[in-house]
Symmetry: C2
Subunit: 333 residues, 2 copies
């Protein structure tokens, strides 16, 4: 579970050691990747992300999730370093499986594992991988969560709640079968994880002039949009009926009574860009086979305003609790 913004502010963002003027983006609300000016026009983009909740695909996921956050800065992820912690009773085959997955995901994204650490660690009951991902921007321009401009349109790729759909279909399989969801639909939902990489669309939208980009994770699409809004100090206004939700996601969410827009959504990319670039961006994404939708606008103000399909409007705060967290605490893990 991510920390709430007020705790991050109090304990994390203020305790950064020696401030370095070369650091253009450091620890701050909604910004996951750091940007450092190396001189000679080169910017280093760096990120670290742990995977703690998964078992089956942990190696594969770790690579994609870390690389996504480098790509949303507009940088091609290039190098990764996974720190792999295994339970002390895990066997050699656990290492075998995980490093195969890492190798395979690294080939998919086109990155090299340049370092890392593997150990059997006391105090962990499942594999945990913290992965650092690095990339270089050669032209001095980077994209941040906080760069949304008044007048921008809000674009999102793929569908809402992609990662969450896969988690629901796997972790809540029994409960969903009991509630009459068909097995075949669960299987399709579980495969949504395959769409987790946003590297291709992020690099494309960076070239298309995106002002801000963000990879919504916990808190889902609305959590991600709120981070763009509050980090940018703007009002983001979106319409629920324009936000695409896959049939599989809708069925699972209805069965469990959760909101697909607040369901963890790695695999979706949020970008804001000047309206005159929107058409071209949508066409370019389509040529790459990536669905995308215009879901809202950026205005003067501050916060996230959601116009629901039923006519109600909702002002969303800085922190959106993920529906999955609520579900876990209600149903037990």
């Amino acid at each position: 579970m991510k920390l709430r913004p007020e705790l991050l502010e109090k304990y994390v963002f203020s305790r950064v050691g020696v401030r370095d003027p070369r650091v253009l983006v450091g620890p701050s609300y909604g910004e996951d990747s750091a940007v450092v000016d190396l001189g000679s026009g080169k910017l280093l983009v760096a990120h670290i992300d742990p995977i703690t909740g998964a078992v089956e695909n942990v190696g594969w996921l770790a690579v994609h999730v870390a690389c996504n956050d480098v790509a949303v800065r507009g940088a091609r992820p290039a190098w990764i370093m996974p720190a792999i912690l295994l339970p002390e009773d895990a066997g050699e085959e656990a290492i075998d499986t995980i490093t195969r997955q890492i190798d395979s995901a690294a080939r998919e994204v086109g990155v090299m594992v340049i370092g890392g650490h593997t150990e059997f660690a006391p105090g962990v009951d499942r594999p945990i991988i913290a992965t650092a991902a690095l990339g270089i921007l050669e032209e001095g321009r980077y994209i941040s969560t906080s760069g949304a401009e008044v007048g921008d349109v809000v674009l999102m790729t793929k569908r809402a709640g992609l990662e969450g759909t896969s988690i629901l279909a796997t972790d809540f399989r029994e409960a969903l079968l009991e509630r009459g969801v068909e097995e075949e639909l669960l299987e399709r939902g579980a495969r949504f994880l395959e769409m987790i990489s946003v590297v291709k669309e992020a690099l494309l939208l960076a070239r298309m002039g995106a002002d801000s980009m963000h990879d919504p994770t916990e808190g889902g699409v609305l959590g991600g949009l709120a981070e763009v809004a509050y980090a940018s100090g703007k009002l983001v206004e979106v319409w629920e009926e324009r936000i695409p939700v896959a049939e599989e996601t809708r069925v699972l969410c209805e069965a469990l009574e959760i909101d697909p827009l607040k369901l963890i959504s790695s695999g979706t990319l949020i970008a804001t860009l000047p309206p005159e670039r929107a058409e071209e961006a949508l066409e370019a994404l389509e040529r790459e086979g990536i669905d995308a939708s215009l879901v809202g606008e950026v205005r003067e103000g501050r916060g996230l305003l959601v116009h629901r399909a039923d006519g109600r409007s909702e002002l969303v705060g800085e922190y959106v609790e993920d529906e999955l967290m609520r579900l876990w605490s209600e149903l037990g893990r």
Copy 2:
């Protein structure tokens, strides 16, 4: 517990995704930090290290341990990213303590926290921190574990088993008191952890023309020397009586019947350098208040040859099991 070299070879070093010609040092035996050529004479030095076994100083340790590995490449550590995983029942005060420690260690080393991640994670029963550390070399030259040259002298700083002494004095306190070790000596031993940073001496020895440097962790000074020897494809010959061991370390090791030279030794730096540079290097270290000793020589051949004080000679293999691991498995944890 670190992986044995044959497992690293089989499952880790061969599974690196897409090989990148800019990577000058990637995953390989004895090399902890990666080196990447960024062009314009700039080299990126990058490392990741988890702390899994400590509770009290975990934040402070995480920063120093990660920065040490960047410094042994001759690069000043500049930026760090800690991924902090806390047990789900840890309170706000755990975050408070850890981020204070991180801030304080970062100030000691002179680095900035540029990113990171903090979460309450399922599946961990103690705080775990995986820290990525980064630095830049501006002049294109880096130092590696594998750079030892025939004719070099082998230098080590401080004493053997520093980190291990502190762990013994804390984790085996009761057993040591029972065996008649004095409380005051235990307290002095516990404070050896304060010497854990090798950043100052590593940067100094890099300027003094070191051919190779290495930060011995698990397996102690002999483990570290073996890594230098095998990674360099040379014979390293050392004399036990020249390797300084603190009185506190000697007493604790005798009481527990363990070898101080195979006791985890973060805080010690191993370097090899041309003999004509040795005198000047020792003087420069002394001016900085850092003890150092010449403990051996690099010759043609392969492996680590240790001449023990009792007249026996021992050829040490690629992997040295740490005495602490042996002790934990004998006494239970």
